[in-house]
Amino acid sequence: MNSTQLLQPMEQTESANKIPVEPILKVKNLKVHFPVKAGIMQRTTGYVKAVDDISFHVKRGETLGIVGESGCGKSTMGRSLIRLNEPTEGSIIFNGNDITAMSEKELRPLIRRKIQMVFQDPYASLNPRKSLGNTLNEPLRAHNLHGNQRERDERIKELLNVVGLHSSSMNHYPHEFSGGQRQRIGIARALVLNPDLIIADEAVSALDVSIQAQIINLLEDLQEQFDLTYIFISHDLSVVRHIADRVGVMYLGKLVELADKAELYVEPLHPYTKALLSAVPSIRSKGAQTRERIVLKGDIPSSINQPSGCVFHTRCPVRMEHCKVAIPTLKEVKPGHFVACHLYD
């Protein structure tokens, strides 16, 4: 799908080209900082800036991939979008509703139905004490959907069919299923309330490669069937390349680049994206010409004591003097291609 013309620039939303469809989700200057406490008095001595000033839009019907190394804040970002982690600053607007400060009661009829999540661990994400039927029944009851148990059972059976499980497995418990089957259950659970947006956080990372493919296919089929929008979080660049329409790259709590998949994988602009992509042999060899392997020196700085200026400057191969002091902002340097780097100022 070509979504370039549907992209809105971050900062000039109003002035730029006409917006054909209102984005399903608008995230603006989102920050999630965790206080670091120390000593017997539990004084706050600093903050883990797990998500630091991130802005992006998610277009209805697309799959937005989010990639980045472990600990860069992908999960925290995904969770804060549904208020499982409380945003420290910024705003989250879903379908025109600002959900940033809503109470749980206000969230329930809205995002607790319309945004769902598929989790990473097929073992930890299912309650071992609940049968498959109970797991799927509970949300329907909580939202008073489908008047009676018979209708709910119908809905559950239909759902099991959709995700490729036998309806006879309703009375079985999680430990009786394989990893791939459990992930299907997790997907069925995410679908049970008819959501519009699904956040998949490393949804296939814990699975065998052959099963990954099945689950990815299932997710794609479901997207078509139910007009779903996905935010697909993964550290696996190849999987994201397959499923995403657009891809955002995170580094130390920041979104450093965001572009169409076709463009990002072939012509990355940010030095970090270049290095990240060059580390995957299959991607490196694919483009027009074989790219150099770029090996970054040093470790990822701790997210407690973040570097000044551009957070990437400590490891950047093309660092300039003012990168140490000036924080780059995410700018649209080509249509639909956003990058936060002083090289493109």
Partner: protein, 305 residues
Amino acid sequence: MTLPNQVEFTNRPTLLEDHQLQPHDSIWRVMLRKYMSNKLAVIGAILLFIIIGSALFAPWLAPQDPSKQVLLDKLSPPGDKYILGADNLGRDTLSRLLYGARVSLLVGFASVAGSIFIGTVIGAVAGYYGGKLDAVLMRFVDAVISFPSLFLLITLVTIFEPSLMTLIAVFAIFGWTGTARLVRGEFLSLRSAEFVLAARTLGIRNSRIIFSHILSNAMGPIIVSATLGIGGVILAEAALSYLGLGIQPPIPSWGNMLQSAQNPQVMLGAWWYPLFPGFMILITVLAFNFVGDGLRDAFDPKIND
């Protein structure tokens, strides 16, 4: 586009995985199998079954009225008339052991029920909500733990005279701290478990998450600690009785039977007198511990059979 990692993403339509499930294998059956594989736990369960059964049926099983005194028969050795001998007032030891079991077990079960309840509520609230509430509640737990409880116990029992109710209340009030810490720990780790996050994402209410999702998964450790706790209380009651502060005669408890045997004139030569109540305390506490260990393994999802 070709894809890396030898992943074939093209085998559409989505294949059904081969999922022939085993004939319905409930978690309870798995747990039972794990429990039965622990020999000591099985022995413990059989012992408890017998002990609890004989306590329940004491009126039918006891050969005599436990408080009937036949002074002529005092300190009779085990024999035809008194299977396990008679005490210093000429009361039948077996009958007193049977009735004493009722008292000792009642104190054990009732005070542990109380302390588990208090500990679970406080631990669950602290662990689930965390933050300031957690800090305050845990300081309170520390305070209760560091309290000289034996001293307070002795004071309380002296003021309110050591009735069954006072003893149960005192054990419950001082026995909950371990449970509270345990339950708090369980809640702290389970509240960020993915299945709990999933429940929150689906709009399941907090009360339901606490009971139906978290508590049901923390039940194992709670039951284990309750089982071990009952043994502990029976032992503590015996210790208090030893100081003369436990259940007061003439009501028989294993503790006060043992205590009345400590009198040197009584003990001299009458080996059976302290032996039987002591043996019952030992066996019962051990049985509870074995059962507790067995339950711990049975509830532990990591130990697979």
